[in-house]
């Protein structure tokens, strides 16, 4: 970090010291004052077009826009002074001249900055007569996932600047001038850039809408849970928005170290599987007629019997989409055996970078925890897994769909224990099937391609009797005498941190919401 000299200034009576060159609007955030703004966004270049962030600075003859003014030593800034408030009220009045009063049907209502600021400091009534016909333009389909509602647009140009400077595919512009201005799209082009979905999040009003989310839920009905995108090995920070215990959309969660403010469209729409209805809801054990549902005690006891009765080699087939904790506990559970672990990763040729952000792309490795699996000694050698399966006394599967194995390679396996969210046909030969929670239903961590350990949180309850994998594996450890039961994901991570040098010193508290790097990044085999 470059050491810039600090500058002290007073904002609304609060004294703050910030590095030289900081913008006033950012300095105000540190003083605990949010200056209303539309065009300013920390992830985009400054435009200064909305005039919403006007503030009074002592000694300056006119009001200044906080988003394009740098801090200076001894500045005294008044955000809520009579003059600043009057100016902002006028800006809001201009914005509302043609803005439709359609909040009841607008998807943005409840998270709309225009709505918020008008309630906060706007004029309560229009000065136009009720007879004034508001400007009307029909809804335009921008292609991809984006709808444009010109009536609601306040021309902050965030979307234009995102496409110009961040996605670097300049297909949006401001067409026409003055009160006829609107956001135009390059003729013949569609807004189908793989990262274009971000313009919907950037839009401060309901002008750019996601077709996927259209009319699906109101903003105030959503519960937001911090999570990690499971789309690729980048590990973008996201929020899962849930309603009635179903994930209805994914939005980026700012993390300057990983994804800044953005996620790709692939990750954005990669949530439907989290709500799938064909989940395993009860533990199953094999009897003469096949798999039969039972309770946890019976199923765990049966699984422990199998593990205790077997000897020799054990194979773990894991999914790179399960938590690091589960990967670690699975390994510890099989510690008594001559152990080998494998995982299969879906790979797609080529990465899809977001040019404006360094080291951010939709990676070719389409699973969130490949790095975690490699760190814990699992191999990606799927060829080697087949002969290993033949010799294995016990095979433990952790949510792997098993679709990459030929049918006969599993048929010879006698002791198959399957922990999974769904029951693929290949797993029907298992002696015990234990239902586990998916990423939206448990706490855990993933390790991204740069060796950053990041937490995700439980967003909704698991279906039926399904339990988090760390709980199931902990119970099995207790039953087989391989260790003690694990009572929380945090405790599972403690065990991991104690056993693995790469994770030592880390804890859930230290990871927080932003994650932390593992200790030995050079150990991580990064496949680029």
């Amino acid at each position: 970090m470059s050491e810039k000299p600090l500058v002290s200034l007073t904002i609304e009576g609060v004294e703050v010291s910030v590095p030289q060159g900081t913008l006033l609007i950012e300095a105000a955030k540190q003083a605990g004052v949010v200056i209303p703004h539309y065009c300013y966004h920390p992830g985009l270049p400054v435009a200064g077009v909305c005039r919403m962030c006007l503030v009074e600075i002592e000694g300056m003859p006119k009001l200044q826009i906080a988003c394009a003014t740098q801090v200076a030593q001894g500045q005294v800034v008044k955000v809520m002074s009579e003059q600043a408030l009057a100016a902002r009220r006028s800006v809001l009045e201009f914005l509302l001249i043609n803005h439709p009063l359609d909040c009841p049907i607008c998807d943005q209502a409840g998270e709309c900055e225009l709505q918020d600021y008008v309630f906060q400091e706007g004029r309560p009534r229009t000065r136009y007569t009720p007879a004034y016909p508001k400007r009307f333009s029909p809804v335009e389909d921008f292609g991809g996932d984006v709808l444009y509602v010109p009536n609601r647009c306040i021309l902050c140009t965030r979307c234009v600047r995102f496409m110009d400077h961040v996605a670097q595919d300049s297909i949006l512009n401001v067409s026409e001038r003055g009160d006829r201005a609107y956001i135009g799209i390059h003729p013949g082009r569609k807004l189908d850039h793989p990262w274009a979905g971000n313009v919907v999040d950037l839009c401060p009003v309901g002008s750019l809408l996601s077709k996927d989310f259209l009319h699906k839920a109101r903003a105030w009905e959503l519960d937001k849970t911090a999570s990690i995108c499971t789309g690729c090995s980048q590990g973008c920070n996201v929020n899962l928005d849930t309603r009635h215990n179903a994930v209805v959309r994914i939005r980026p969660r700012p993390n300057l170290e990983v994804n800044q403010y953005f996620i790709c469209d692939y990750g954005r729409f990669n949530y439907r599987w989290m709500n799938r209805g064909d989940r395993i809801e009860a533990p199953l054990v094999k009897d003469r007629e096949g798999l039969a549902a039972t309770d946890w005690d019976t199923a765990l006891e049966r699984a422990a019997q199998i593990l205790k009765g077997a000897d020799g080699k054990a194979v773990a087939l894991v999914s790179p989409k399960v938590s690091t904790e589960a990967l670690f506990l699975a390994r510890r559970l099989l510690g008594r055996f001559e152990w080998s672990g494998y995982f299969r990763l879906e790979r797609v040729d080529g990465e899809i970078p977001l040019p404006g952000v360094p080291n951010l792309a939709l990676r070719s490795e389409r699973a969130p925890n490949g790095t975690g699996a490699r760190l814990l000694g699992y191999g990606e050698d799927t060829e080697g897994a087949v002969p290993a399966l033949r010799q294995a006394a016990v095979v433990l599967v952790l949510d792997d769909p098993l679709d990459w194995l030929s049918a006969d390679s599993l048929s010879e396996v006698e002791n198959l224990i399957y922990l999974g969210t769904v029951l693929p046909p290949a797993a029907r030969g298992a002696r015990v099937v234990l239902p586990i929670a998916n990423v939206a239903e448990e706490d855990g961590t993933f390790v991204n391609r740069d060796g950053r350990v990041q937490r995700y949180f439980q967003a909704k309850p698991a279906p039926g009797m399904a339990r988090p994998a760390w709980w199931v594996l902990g119970q099995l450890m207790e039953e087989t005498g391989a260790g003690e039961a694990v009572l929380s994901a945090a405790q599972a991570f403690e065990l991991l941190a104690a056993a693995e040098p790469a994770f030592s010193g880390l804890s859930y508290e230290r990871l927080g919401l932003k994650g932390a790097l593992i200790n030995a990044p050079e150990r991580v085999e990064v496949s680029r």
Binding site: C103, P104, I105, A109, V139, L214, H215, R218, W220, E221
Partner: protein, 168 residues
């Protein structure tokens, strides 16, 4: 052991019930000539002395536009404000791109008739009605769907007296 029993002689005039009966009859007959306070419900539903208040909050009614469609735009405010959680709403979009309720159901058993849904509605679509006769043969019929709510014809509540909005 003998118990001492005291025999009390009843006063002569109270031995006969005739006197009390006649007193009662006299009272009854005197009521024949007083002003009537009852009403012959259900033949008669209001009298000059008693009419149902225009602010009565009864079972709901959904108002419709000129084309007969529900005015509701499925904004979701009534299920949000409803303290009894009795409104089920699933929004959808019609061919012209208008937002409208795919499912709109009110469980009238669960409803506490507070009138908040009417008060919060930005489109003046859902109303509580000036209506109190709601008998049905099945419990399930008390979940009013959109069609039923639109088909109601009873007057809607004014919720408050326009000339005295604060109720003073």
């Amino acid at each position: 052991m003998a118990i001492g029993v005291k025999v009390v002689k009843r006063p002569e005039r109270e031995v006969s019930y005739l006197r009390a009966t006649l007193q009662g009859m006299a009272l009854t007959f005197s009521h024949l000539f007083r002003r009537k306070v009852t009403m012959e419900y259900p033949e008669e539903k209001s009298t000059p002395e008693w009419t149902i208040s225009p602010r009565w909050r009864g079972t709901h009614r959904m108002l419709t536009d000129e084309q007969g469609r529900a005015k509701c735009v499925a904004c979701g405010l009534c299920p949000q404000i409803c303290p009894a959680n009795c409104i089920k709403l699933v929004p959808g979009e019609d061919e012209e791109g208008h937002r409208y309720p795919l499912i709109y159901e009110i469980d009238e058993f669960r409803c506490i008739f507070c009138g908040y849904c009417q008060e919060v509605c930005p489109e003046e679509a859902i109303h509580v009605g000036v209506h109190y006769e709601n008998s049905e043969f099945e419990r399930g019929r008390f979940v009013y769907d959109l069609e039923r709510l639109c088909a109601q014809t009873h007057p809607v509540s004014t919720l408050w007296d326009p000339s005295d909005p604060k109720g003073e």
